[in-house]
C-alpha cells in the first residue's frame, strides 16, 4: 500500500490534487496485476488474513486480449455470457436514450452507469433472485436482471402518472420491491449501513438470503461506511459490502476520498475478508460475488469488495466533467470498457461476432424506443399528466393523520 508520500510543509497542510486536469495529458499508472494470478481461498473457511493478497492485489480473469484464466474464472455457459452482454448493452442503450430525453425536458435529471455496466449486471446475475439489493444511483441495471419492465422504469424517470413512486423522487431513484431492490435515496452512503440490518434480519429469520450493497469511493468517507463495516464485523450477517472506486465523486478525485490508494484493505483490520476486483471484468466480478455469496450461505458473515473502475461519463446530466478532468481521460483507463471486454472474449472464443453485436444493439435500441414510446403515453415531466397532487399527502404515514388531511383539503386538489 502506498499513499505515504512525504507529508506537508509546516507552512501548510497538504491538499491533494487529481492526477491530471483539463489541458493536461491524462495518465494512469499501468497495472501490474496479471489476470489469473490470484488463488481462490475456500469461502467456507476463509479468514480475513487469507485475503490479504486479494485485497492488496486485483482479481482479474480477462486479459487485454479477452482470454479468461485463473482460479477466479467462473466458467459461465455461453448462454450466461450472452445474457450478461445483452444486459450490459441494454443498460447502456437505455442510458443513452434517457440522456437524450433529459435534454428535451422529459426528465428533470439523469445519471448514467456508463463504463460501470458490469457491476450491476454481473453481480446481480451472480446472486440469488431473492437476495436484497441496496444500490446507489449507479446500479439501476440490477433491475433488468431482476426482470423489471423497462416501461415501468421510464415511467419513474419521467415522473408520470404511472410512476410507481408517484412522482415523489427524482429520476433514477427507483424502487422495485418485487426485485428486492430498495428505494434509492439521494443522501449517499446511508444505504450501506442499512444493508447490514437487512442482512441481520434475514439471518435472524433463518432465511438463506444475502444482502448486497454498494457505495462510491466518495461516499465511503461518510460515517455510514464505518458503521456498516464495523457492525458487520461484530454481528457477522450475510452482507456483501462493495466500494465502487470509480476514481471520481462529481469533481472530486478519489485522492480526496482517502489518503490511502486502496479501499479493499480497509476491511481486513475489522476481521472481514476483502477482495479487490477489476470492475470492468464481467467474469471476475461474477465470481467474487458468487464467492461472497457462498460465504453468506455458509454463515461466514460479511465480505468486503473494492470494485476498481472508472466513471466514464459525467457525474449526471447536470455535470460537465471536462471542466475538471481531461475530456478523454477514460480512454486511458487501464481496465478498458466492460462491454468491449466481454464482447472480445466471446468473439475470441468463437461465440459471438461483430454482426451479432450490431444486431443486438439494434434490437435493444428498438426495445428501448418502444418502451419509451409506451411510457410517454402515460405522460412525462414536461407535459404531464403527473400523479395527482393528492399523492403528496398519502403514504407519509400508514394512515393519513388529521393535520395532513386538513392540508390536503386546503390544497383542494
Amino acid at each position: 500500500m502506498t499513499g505515504d508520500e512525504p507529508g506537508c510543509d509546516l507552512d501548510g497542510f497538504t491538499v491533494p490534487d487529481a492526477p491530471s486536469r483539463p489541458g493536461e495529458e491524462a495518465h494512469f499508472e499501468p497495472w501490474t496485476y496479471t489476470p489469473g494470478d490470484l488463488s481462490q481461498p475456500d469461502p467456507k473457511t476463509c479468514t480475513s488474513e487469507d485475503t490479504t493478497d486479494h485485497a492488496e492485489g486485483l482479481i482479474r480473469v480477462l486479459d487485454d486480449e479477452g482470454v479468461a484464466s485463473g482460479a477466479w474464472n467462473p466458467n459461465l455457459s455461453v448462454d450466461e455470457l450472452h445474457l450478461g452482454l445483452e444486459q450490459m448493452c441494454r443498460l447502456r442503450i437505455f442510458d443513452d436514450r434517457m440522456m437524450k430525453m433529459q435534454r428535451t425536458g422529459k426528465l428533470s435529471f439523469y445519471m448514467r452507469s456508463l463504463g460501470e455496466e458490469a457491476i450491476a449486471i454481473s453481480q446481480t446475475m451472480a446472486l440469488q433472485d431473492h437476495d436484497w439489493l441496496f444500490p446507489t444511483y449507479r446500479q439501476p441495471g440490477c433491475q433488468f436482471v431482476r426482470g423489471r419492465s423497462m416501461v415501468s422504469m421510464i415511467n419513474h424517470c419521467i415522473g408520470n402518472v404511472e410512476d410507481n413512486v408517484k412522482g415523489r423522487q427524482m429520476p433514477v431513484h427507483y424502487t422495485y420491491k418485487d426485485g428486492y431492490y430498495i428505494s434509492v435515496s439521494s443522501p449517499v452512503g446511508t444505504q450501506f449501513s442499512q444493508a447490514v440490518g437487512v442482512a441481520m434480519a434475514s439471518a435472524y429469520k433463518g432465511e438463506d438470503q444475502a444482502t448486497i450493497t454498494w457505495i462510491g469511493d466518495g461516499a465511503s468517507a461518510e460515517g455510514d461506511y464505518h458503521y456498516a463495516v464495523n457492525f458487520a464485523s461484530v454481528f457477522k450477517p450475510p452482507v456483501i459490502l462493495c466500494v465502487v472506486n470509480n476514481q471520481w465523486a462529481i469533481s472530486t478525485h478519489k485522492n480526496f476520498a482517502s489518503g490511502g490508494e486502496n479501499f479493499a484493505t480497509r476491511a481486513l483490520p475489522y476481521g472481514i475478508p476483502s477482495l479487490r476486483v477489476d470492475g470492468n471484468d464481467f467474469l471476475a466480478l461474477y465470481s467474487v460475488t458468487q464467492w461472497a455469496r457462498e460465504r453468506a450461505s455458509a454463515g461466514m458473515g460479511a465480505t468486503h469488495i473494492e470494485i476498481l473502475t472508472y466513471r466514464t461519463g459525467a457525474h449526471s446530466s447536470s455535470d460537465d466533467a471536462s471542466r475538471y478532468r481531461p475530456a478523454d481521460e477514460h480512454d486511458y483507463w487501464p481496465g478498458g470498457d466492460p462491454i468491449d471486454r466481454l464482447k472480445n472474449h466471446l468473439i475470441l472464443n468463437g461465440d459471438w461476432s461483430e454482426e451479432q453485436h450490431s444486431e443486438l444493439e439494434q434490437r435493444l435500441d428498438e426495445e428501448v424506443v418502444a418502451a419509451y414510446k409506451e411510457a410517454v403515453t402515460h405522460g412525462d415531466l414536461a407535459n404531464g399528466p403527473w400523479p395527482p397532487a393528492s399523492t403528496i399527502f398519502t403514504e407519509v404515514y400508514e394512515e393519513v393523520p388529521w393535520h395532513i388531511q386538513e392540508q390536503r383539503e386546503e390544497l383542494g386538489k
Binding site: S185, T190, S193, Q194, N230, E398
Partner: protein, 336 residues
Amino acid sequence: MTEMNMIQSLNSALDNLLESDPNVLIFGEDVGYFGGVFRVTDGLQEKHGAKRVFDTPLAEGGIAAIAFGMGLNGLRPVMEIQFADYIFPAYDQIVNEMAKLRHRSGGEFSTPVTIRTPAGGGIKGGHHHSQSPESQFTHTPGIKVVYCSNPYSAKGLLISAIECNDPVVFFEPKRCYRGPFYGDPHNVPTWKGHEYSDVPEEHYTIPLGEANLTMEGDKCTVIAWGAMVHVAEQGIKDSGISCDLIDLQSLVPWDRDAVVNSVKKTGRCVIVHEAPKTSGFGAEMSASVQERCFYHLESPIERVTGWDTPFPHSTEWDYLPSPQRIAEAIKRTQED
C-alpha cells in the same frame, strides 16, 4: 394491576412484546447483558436470549441504520438511544431515511422502528445529559413523536409505538423514572401510591394521537408533556386557579380535539415544556391554538419553557420551568 415505577412499566411493555411477537428485537448501547444504564431492559436478555436483546457498537447512526434495515425486512426493531442528547449522530438516518421511506417508495417499503430515549433535565446532567429535543423531530413528516409521563402512559404508549407501522421517536422523562417530579428537588416522591402507578402486567395500549386530560377546570388550559406534566400540576395547584391540564403524550400527531375543545372552553392557554423556548414544540402548539381558537382567546397564550441557552449543571433548577413560573403564567392569563 401491579404497582410499577416507569422503569418497571417500560420493562413490562418490552417483555410483553418480546413474548408475543418474535419479530421484536431490542438493542442499543449497554441494553443487553447489563440491562441498560437506566435498567429499562433489565433481565430481558437473560429471559429472551441474546439474539432478541443485545448490545451494539457505540454508534447511534449505525444503530439507527441497522434498525432501518431490520424494519424494512420484516422485523419490529426497538432501539435505544442512551440519552436523547446522543440521538444527533442518528439524525440523518431518522429524518432523511426512516421518515421518508414509505413516501419515497410509493408505499412499497416502510420501516416500523421504535426509538426509545431518556430525555430531559433534573438529574444534574449538564449540557449533554439533559436536553429534550422533541421539537427537532416534530418538524419532519413521516415520524411520530411520543412523550410519556408516568408508568401507566409509558407502557401503553410504548406498546402502541412498537405496534405502529410508522417510525416513532419515543421520549421518556428520565427525571420521572422513579417518581413524579413536582419541581422541588428537595422533596422527591416515588411512584408509590400514585394513581398512574397501577399498571396491568398484560398488554394494553394507549392510542397514539390521544391526549390525557389529567386535571379538569374551566379557567385555563395548561398543556404539557413529559416531566413537565407533574410540574404543571403543582403549578396549577399553587395558582389556585381551576385549570384543564392536558398531558399531550403524542406530539405528532397531536390531539386536536382535546386541545381545541379545552381552549374554547377556558379561553386561556399556558404551554409548558422544558426544552428551549425558540422553536420548541410549544411554538407549534401556540400557533395552532391561536389559529383554531382565536375568537375564543381572552388573553395571550403563554409559554413557560426552558431558556434559550444550553442546559446548565449547577443551576439547573433555575433553568427548568418551576411551579412558580407556571403559576404566575396562569395568573397572567386571568388578568384581562
